[in-house]
Symmetry: C2
Subunit: 270 residues, 2 copies
Amino acid sequence: MTRQQLFDKIKEKESFLCVGLDTDVKKIPHHLLQAKDPVFEFNKQIIDATHRYAVAYKPNTAFYEAQGAKGWDSLQKTLEYIPADIFTIADAKRADIGNTSSMYASAFFENMNFDSVTVAPYMGSDSVKPFLAFDNKWVILLAATSNPGGLDFQNLITSDGEKLYERVIRESAKWGDADNLMYVVGATRPEALADIRKIVPHHFLLIPGVGAQGGDLHAVCEYGMNEQCGLLVNSSRGIIYSDSSENFGSSAGIQAQKIQIEMAEILQRL
Amino acid sequence: MTRQQLFDKIKEKESFLCVGLDTDVKKIPHHLLQAKDPVFEFNKQIIDATHRYAVAYKPNTAFYEAQGAKGWDSLQKTLEYIPADIFTIADAKRADIGNTSSMYASAFFENMNFDSVTVAPYMGSDSVKPFLAFDNKWVILLAATSNPGGLDFQNLITSDGEKLYERVIRESAKWGDADNLMYVVGATRPEALADIRKIVPHHFLLIPGVGAQGGDLHAVCEYGMNEQCGLLVNSSRGIIYSDSSENFGSSAGIQAQKIQIEMAEILQRL
């Protein structure tokens, strides 16, 4: 999916919502445990209920890996079930030396057909570039993450006077461009967004941390939005675990729609 | 495995060799492709040929993930085949927000029974601590990596005048101790080792980059060794792909033994 196609979809659906499929087999409604593949069955119903309101889905690979080979199958089936016009993110936070990163890129872009993968920056250029070598695929690089530990190193001031996450963005922006590179910026750090927009005005940003982690949608949009929206705002737990009964699907749909309605209002200001 | 047990094994085997099982199905001898599980068959023969000379095995998860669910099975079988007295490292370079890192820790320490997992530091304390919560398990944190891109961010000077990788070590050393935390330091950066030993004199270091990546064993030992050896030196490609014929196993054994003999000499100086 190209940047323009993503923006067109945002306008069409009046939404920049990404639904995080962090599907923990211990947290899904009990009646699903009878199903052949409970994780996939849960995802299927969540996707059925939310796809009208979302432009992206983001399964976090940790939840699937925790189930071993079976979980990997559930992930593959989930990906295939997501409607083709919705942007898919493998939230994998991978990166390794060059030849090994190529294997990860192959896993997510070839064996599975994800549109994008989240990548960790610590190992530098040759750990990121193999993911950028695929046409029509995206790297979403960790910059300023939403978790408390995100402050441990990312906000360190370098001898040039900039924060580490700013340096990561400034440097990595040379490895790709706004058409194949996005950044992860936590909703819990809206003050960072204004500074980041000075460095990368045109790149899309993936914003986790709205909802369960306490981030505020309006603050994020005030500081982070650009002329093509430029934001994918993720909510995971607030949508998918909003109801633990057999009605979990319709409840997830309602939560997703609530966010979409807020987003539609915000988009009218563009 | 405890630190003392690891050191006892190093003395017994006169070796601190870690064999990297970066098993790429495109690089293994052709005759193995007839086997039911070629990757496992390759690993099995490599382990048979090298286990006398090694104290650790380190499968890099990228190579298994690139095969999807099937690869995950090969990894599990490989882990179960490794003799119980050999230290096992899931070279996965994972890390995520706290509750998600717990899922990764569960994947590698509970579903699979690895002794250790490599972890990326960028997301800070709550992304690392869930891995440290398991008894008798180890975190091996990326510090100064062996790849060219390792210099992009890890050597940045902070406003306190220390390098980022030094800060990562100094800070993370508070989250665990020498009995559950090791660091990755590339063999291609021996000059870093002396400085790192000033910060963490007692921790074990995992040293990749000897062999195909050009690192020198003697330089590594000169700057990095401590009173309990304190080093696990990894070789992957130089051992496992030393011969592409049906004799690949015995050839790998010879390469591993060569390194072990060098290590035995070095250990006598302890």
